[in-house]
């Protein structure tokens, strides 16, 4: 528990670093929103579609854009002139969102070295640390992809072995999945932290350190407890985000934007807390 408090303290003292984790998502989403705005502007030349879409009527609006149906029934006819550019721009907005996941992963790899250095009390400038550790962090991110590919179905399988039924049972299984995934995630972040703290750029060694952290006698109990607690926090955050998806559209645009940004900031802080906890566990071992 002391480890967890120290991790929380470290994260709070460096809370500005959460902003660094928040900004890439903000930039990407703003870029995507710009394309969406241009698309909506084109679309609205043919009616108040953006209002209908934003207020939840997107499926009905989508039905009305089945212009291929018109072409099939009336060969030679064309869709409304602004429909094609609107479709291109809205598709671009979605594509930016999808590609954003990769960019976000790159940004995290870039920032993680700097954040871990700062959490360790290193004197080097933040951006210099980021640049210094970018290569190993990127390689490490690629290295752990297969671990996730194996771990996610295993965690799902284990979670769904829980003898629970109904909606509450489903939620319990999702929670168990979140906790198990949080544990795996924590082990891997341990490896990431060990590279920086031990000044060792070997990603294979870091992965071994991470996966082994859970069985090392000195760290097993605090590590498991801490990662499970953090996994629980992540699960609560995920549930809150899902609830926000459900509830926020009923709000007007200003409070909706505020909720979205607060949720994004909370997510960024949990990532910072995870790195801080990894740092403390490596130190403790």
């Amino acid at each position: 528990m002391r480890t967890l408090f120290r991790a929380a303290d470290g994260a709070l003292r460096n809370v500005v670093l959460a902003l660094a984790l928040y900004v890439p998502g903000l930039a990407l989403s703003l870029l995507s929103a710009l394309a969406a705005w241009l698309g909506f502007a084109m679309l609205d030349r043919n009616g108040n579609w953006s209002e209908q879409i934003a207020s939840g009527g997107y499926v009905a609006a989508g039905v009305e854009f089945l212009s291929l149906a018109k072409e099939r029934a009336l060969p030679g006819t064309a869709p409304a002139p602004s429909l094609v550019p609107a479709a291109v721009l809205l598709s671009l907005a979605v594509a930016i969102g999808v590609l954003g996941i990769l960019v976000e992963a790159y940004a995290y790899a870039y920032l993680a070295g700097g954040i871990l250095s700062r959490l360790c009390g290193a004197e080097a400038p933040f951006r210099a640390s980021c640049r210094r550790w970018l290569g190993p962090m990127l390689r490490y991110s690629l290295l752990i992809v297969p671990v996730f590919i194996v771990a996610i179905p295993l965690c799902l399988f284990a979670a769904f072995l829980l003898p629970a039924a109904g909606i509450n049972g489903l939620l319990a299984k999702i929670a168990a999945f979140g906790l198990l995934l949080g544990l795996v995630n924590g082990m891997l972040e341990y490896g990431r932290a060990s590279m920086v703290i031990e000044e060792n750029r070997s990603t294979r060694r870091a992965l071994r350190q991470g996966l082994g952290s859970i069985v090392r006698s000195r760290t097993v109990l605090p590590a498991v407890l801490a990662w499970l607690l953090l996994g629980l926090l992540g699960y609560v955050f995920s549930v809150d985000v899902t609830s926000a998806f459900v509830a926020v559209p009923a709000l007007s645009i200003v409070p909706a934007l505020a909720v979205h940004q607060l949720a994004a900031l909370a997510g960024a802080f949990i990532k910072l807390l995870r790195l801080s906890l990894a740092t403390e566990l490596v130190r403790a071992s």
């Binding site: 989403s29 909506f40 209002e51 009905a60 009336l74 995920s238 926000a244 459900v246 645009i253």
Partner: protein, 617 residues
């Protein structure tokens, strides 16, 4: 509105189809009556039946034959003509050939003479309809009485009927007379896309099942007797109906509430799986709204009881079907985060099936030959009834982050599949189940909705009420509907029915251009439907409203010197049969507020998603 109606009248320049017969005299509701005794063999999933069938020859001629339907033979094997049409599947169900269904008539006697009547293959035929010669002709106006014995093997639940574990739903389970209408037998075999058609009569069912079973059937529940052999016998009686179906399951939870629908008391009997009891209020509410709405609009519900059966999920193939006084529905979807109430799947199915209590259970059109007269009607009624309780654009999905109206579902079917398909085709002539569904349900309901919006809710409801009153307890066809509507509305609907119902016409309007004070509207497609036009002006003055009869391909608009800001065709969304609504509006300077808000919401959601994904991995 008046101009619209006048313009619709102008469409009536084309020759009429053959006019329909007018209904002759008082309707008869005692043509085909049944007194059936059925005993469930719970282990073998068989029904052993016996009974008496009476039939009155209402035609002008003496009859030397009768036709009997043996529906369950459709499931005799994977090689029946029905099964070949269905390609071994029906909706979401796949036929399990290890558990076939069949019906074997073991005795059929003409009580007038005592003669045993001869069925093909001694009654063990593979056909779904058989011709049975009468030893003595049945003169016009005379009654035929038959005694019958048979055995029905229920299939594993498939296409509305069968068993799943110890759940039983018996639909189309007994030997049934084909309909004799307008002087001829309906001899069309049962097809995979077809439903049913029968004459009215009274039904007495005496049902014997193991004592642990809870039963339900259409009709008033009568005496219940516990037998010495561990079975229970329950009697059901119904009048002015065309069918009887029943269900039995030890696990049924039976709930009853009485509702008042237009001053008439109706018992709603719910038969639910145990896990569905917590959704009982949803079922009751949907049933009450449907009964009340349809009773107001199309005449009082005529029976004392309505049974609503929700089969358990493993017997979902028995759900979503209608019988007179009994409907089967589905179980509600369970979702976390309070989403369950926002998805109205139960309501849609229940209301749709209850709509059938009017069309075709009271207005018995031929569901097989002209399915749109019941399915198109039922979906149109569903759109209307659901729209009474929720905003029409959120009638089936009403969640904070998304909504959907039932009419949009029909629009999707229409645009995606059935834009050019004739609605009034025999069901077996559609190339696929999807084409059948999209046309009969989708385009059929949109056609009625278009007429409603063209003529106004009150006027069109009165016209459909007049049709229902005129044809209640009879067998109308599409031509009869057209004649009745024309009579009520005082306008010819010839072009509408010829183009959209019997034909393959389509229509699309588009705003072609706006240049200063002038604009161009274009019509694409064959159907010249009248349409409203609204012109918004750049000076902020009152919009100019116009009506166009749509007879020409192009309409040139000139505001006489006032600059145009936007032009909208069909601004009130009346033409549900239009092909493309995305070109109905052209506005030169759309308001920036909504598009900024939409982009803002997109940004917020995407940012949260990115954080969530980053957190997971």
């Amino acid at each position: 509105m008046t101009i619209l109606v006048l313009a619709l009248a102008m469409l009536a320049r084309l020759p009429s189809p053959a006019r329909a017969q007018t209904p002759p005299g008082e309707p008869r509701t005692d043509i085909a009556s049944y007194a059936l005794e059925a005993t469930l063999d719970a282990a073998a999933k068989q029904i052993r039946g016996s009974g008496r069938i009476t039939f009155i020859n209402t035609g002008p001629d003496s009859l030397s034959e009768i036709w009997i339907r043996l529906y369950l033979n459709a499931f005799r094997s994977a090689d029946t003509s029905w099964m070949r049409e269905a390609a071994g599947g029906f909706r979401e169900s796949v036929f399990d050939s290890r558990f076939p269904g069949w019906i074997r008539v073991e005795g059929l006697v003409d009580a007038r003479t005592g003669d045993a009547l001869t069925l093909p293959s001694g009654g063990d035929t593979g056909e779904t309809i058989v011709q049975v010669p009468l030893a003595m002709p049945l003169p016009a106006g005379q009654k035929l009485e038959l005694t019958v014995r048979w055995t029905s093997q229920l299939p594993k639940v498939f296409a509305r009927t069968g068993f799943a574990g110890n759940f039983i739903f018996a639909g189309q389970w007994y030997p049934k007379l084909a309909a004799y209408d307008r002087g001829r037998w309906d001899t069309e075999p049962w097809h995979a896309n077809s439903e049913f058609f029968a004459d009215y009569g009274s039904y007495d069912l005496t049902l014997t099942v193991p004592a642990a079973y809870v039963t339900g059937a259409n009709g008033v529940r009568g005496s219940e007797t516990e037998n010495a052999d561990g079975t229970t016998t329950t009697a059901y009686h119904s009048e002015r109906v065309t069918d009887v179906a029943w269900t039995a399951w030890p696990s049924f939870q039976r709930l009853v509430r009485t509702v008042i629908a237009v001053d008439k008391s109706v018992d709603i009997e719910l038969l639910l799986p145990p896990g569905e009891v917590e959704s009982a209020d949803r079922h009751f509410t949907a049933a009450r709204i449907a009964l009340d709405s349809f009773s107001h609009w199309y005449g009082v519900y005529p029976w004392a009881k309505l049974t609503v059966v929700a089969p358990p999920p493993e017997a979902a193939g028995a759900g979503g079907m209608e019988y007179p006084g009994l409907v089967t529905t589905g179980t509600s979807l369970r979702l976390p985060f309070g989403l369950t109430e926002g998805i109205r799947d139960v309501e849609v199915t229940t209301v749709h099936e209850i709509a059938h209590q009017w069309f075709p259970m009271q207005v018995q059109s031929n569901e097989s030959a002209e399915a749109w007269l019941d399915e198109g009607f039922a979906d149109y009624l569903t759109i209307r009834a659901l729209g009474r309780t929720k905003s029409p654009d959120a009638s089936i999905v009403d969640l904070p982050f998304g909504r959907l109206g039932y009419a949009s579902v029909q629009r999707a079917l229409f645009l995606g599949i059935s834009a050019r398909a004739p609605v009034a085709l025999p069901s077996w002539q559609y190339p696929s189940f999807y084409a059948y569904g999209a046309t009969v349900y989708g385009k059929g309901s949109l056609a009625l909705l278009t007429l409603e919006r063209q003529y106004g809710d009150e006027r069109f409801t009165a016209a459909l009420r007049a049709y229902a009153d005129r044809w209640r307890w009879r067998h109308p066809a599409t031509a009869d509907l057209q004649t009745s509507l024309e009579s009520s509305l005082g306008q010819s609907l010839d072009s509408f029915f010829r183009g959209f119902i019997r034909g393959d016409w389509v229509v699309n309007y588009r705003v072609g251009s706006i240049e200063g004070t002038k604009a161009v509207i274009e019509r694409e497609g064959e159907a010249p439907i009248p349409v409203d036009i609204r012109i918004d002006l750049a000076d902020g003055g009152d919009p100019i409203e116009r009506h166009w009869d749509g007879q020409d391909r192009r309409l040139d608009l000139d505001t006489g010197g006032r600059t145009i800001a936007a032009v909208s065709v069909d601004p009130e969304n009346k033409l549900l049969l239009e092909l493309d609504r995305s070109d109905n509006v052209l506005q030169l300077n759309p308001s920036p507020g909504p598009m900024i808000a939409a982009a803002g919401r997109w940004q917020g959601m995407l940012h949260m998603i990115l954080q969530l994904v980053g957190l997971a991995g």
